[in-house]
């Protein structure tokens, strides 16, 4: 459904089966499918974990935590069943990569989840897909069914004596459920209210059992690592940032699309060469480098390698790989308002700093953008955001605070240009045509 793009600089690992008909299990087998899990079945669990650790694979959901390390936290012995949970609740604005994986290569996610299960000694895995992605749920349910029919899932997989069940699960519209503890609540049939940690899911997760939760793209990388080897995968990227990742290029670009590039690929090159630069003769104003929750970068800040550590050094985050490009016709106040409107809408209301903070930010920014802003509002917006940072129950509060603080810090002049009843300098003439509320 979603159209595919390509660029010569791409290094296709996760996307190598895109457009190859790999939703069909026989085709997937032709394309080296289910070889990695058979290799993993012959390995000791610790050896699988070490391989993934050495590959430098870090969580593709946004936090960038070492996947192998995460697996190693799961206790060897557990009175309660252990679980693997694939997070396919992709909803960070700017991110549309898991969608392509599920659409073109669902068996890789299954295979990755199987390998994760073998590594931590789990016999049950769930693949959670957001409710809006119904067509992908259909694809995934069929893929799972086909894998059972071949004897790859269920009792005694590949004749190994190991039992492993994988189930699909669906959401019903909630960004916050992408947060790992809220994801477990949702899977247990509840509101997606995050849980307090510790205990971490690796110790107390689904139904109280130790649980490994990985992003769909992370799990999709695992079979390639097991087959190709940790060294090969690690060398594709930069030190401590192994492999490639799917970058979702969106916004004011000539060639938006999802491109698979090595970790550490230069952001400037990504925008001007891979993404084809800014259309209509406009110039670059700002880049949101890793999904809406990551602090914005200015044009002079984009000569940076796109890996977790380099972007942290640049004061932002690699996040979920959603690169959103803004040209110079875009009003930052409006963009900040739209970002906050989202977080206000998605805040579960469980903890006060997030519930009140996002609401007051939305109110203040709405008034501000409408031309009724006061000078003190600018500092107040920053102060409201700062008072959420690190003080909320789950990272949704941080996700709202971080970009807001960066917008105010880096575009203060533009906020000042909206003061004293001045109309938004970016509002196009004629755009204010009345429409139904």
């Amino acid at each position: 459904m979603a159209s595919l793009v390509s660029h010569p600089d791409e290094v296709r690992v996760i996307s190598k089966r895109f457009g190859q008909g790999a939703t069909n299990i026989d085709r997937y087998l032709e394309l080296d499918g289910y070889k990695a899990v058979q290799k993993a079945l012959a390995m000791q669990p610790d050896a699988i974990i070490n391989e993934v650790k050495n590959s430098g694979l870090r969580g593709r959901g946004g936090a960038g935590f070492s996947t192998g390390m995460k697996w190693s936290f799961v206790p060897k012995q557990s009175a309660k069943p252990k679980y693997v949970l694939c997070n396919g609740d992709e909803s960070e604005p700017g991110t549309c990569k898991d969608r392509l994986i599920f659409e073109h290569d669902p068996h890789t996610v299954i295979e990755g989840a199987m390998i994760a299960a073998l590594a931590v000694g789990s016999h049950t895995a769930y693949i959670y897909i957001r409710g809006e992605y119904r067509y992908l749920s259909v694809i995934m349910q069929k893929a799972i069914k086909d894998a059972y029919a071949k004897g790859f899932l269920g009792k005694n997989i590949f004749g190994s004596g190991y039992d492993l069940d994988i189930y699909w699960h669906g959401g019903a519209g909630a960004y916050e459920v992408g947060e790992e503890s809220a994801l477990m609540e949702s899977l247990e049939g509840k509101r997606g209210i995050p849980r307090i940690r510790p205990p971490f899911p690796a110790i107390v997760g689904l139904w109280g059992g130790p649980t490994v939760i990985n992003n769909a793209e992370t799990l999709a990388a695992v079979p390639h690592i097991i087959l190709g080897g940790a060294d090969w995968y690690a060398k594709l990227g930069t030190p401590k940032n192994g492999g490639t990742r799917l970058f979702c290029l969106s916004g004011n670009l000539n060639k938006p699309g999802v491109y698979e590039l090595p970790m550490g690929y230069n952001l400037q090159k990504m925008i001007y060469e891979v993404g084809g630069g800014i259309p209509n003769g406009r110039s670059l104003k700002a880049v949101v480098p890793g999904g809406s929750s990551t602090p914005v970068l200015l044009p002079e800040e984009i000569d940076v390698p796109m890996d977790f550590d380099s972007l942290a050094k640049a004061g932002t985050m690699l996040g979920s790989g959603g690169v959103v490009v803004l040209d110079d016709t875009i009003c930052i106040v409006k963009f900040a308002l739209r970002t906050i409107k989202f977080y206000q809408h998605e805040s579960c209301g469980w903890c006060i700093p997030c519930r009140e903070g996002t609401d007051w930010l939305k109110k203040t920014l709405t008034r501000f953008h409408a031309g009724a802003g006061l000078k003190k509002d600018i500092d107040n917006i920053y102060y409201l955001a700062e008072n959420m940072l690190g003080k909320t129950f789950c990272p949704l509060g941080d996700a709202a605070a971080m970009p807001t603080m960066a917008f105010v810090k880096k575009f203060r002049k533009e906020f000042e240009d909206h003061l004293e009843g001045k109309p938004c300098p970016f509002e196009k003439a004629g755009a204010a045509e009345p429409v139904m509320a």
Binding site: T95, G131, E132, V258, S292, L326
Partner: protein, 160 residues
Amino acid sequence: MKFSDEFEARFTEMLTHYPTRRSALVPTLLYAQDEVGSLSDEVIEELARRLDLTELEVRNVISYYSMLTTKPRGKYNVQVCTNIACMLRGGEELLDHCKKKLGVGHKGTTQDGLFSLEEVECIGACSWAPAVQVNYDFHENLTKEKMDQVLDEYKKKLNH
């Protein structure tokens, strides 16, 4: 309360996936809604009974998830994304266009019950913005003209 055979088969199978019955709740609510049109009192009562929950517990979950609704929508729910990536490529203008074309506002339904309109948050189509979902179908790289065609096609679909 009678659901389709397909729903019943899925429901029965889904219960075997989890150690608790309650776990089947969220996806089941969505499938029930797709079939009935909304999560009516009757549906809530039935699912609460089947999953050993109180109706309040079920309503509590419904109110959290943005796709779930207790009010009926039009046959085709037009969901226009205006989140950042779509906003940069005309998502808001597309929403305004739909409002005018359909004569309804956010969460409104046309009088003939054919279309509902909703402004939604990111639907995961950022690289193909601006994008709209009509029920579960994605329509991407839209312009006002393409949007008109999409709406016309749904109208035609009904006549066949």
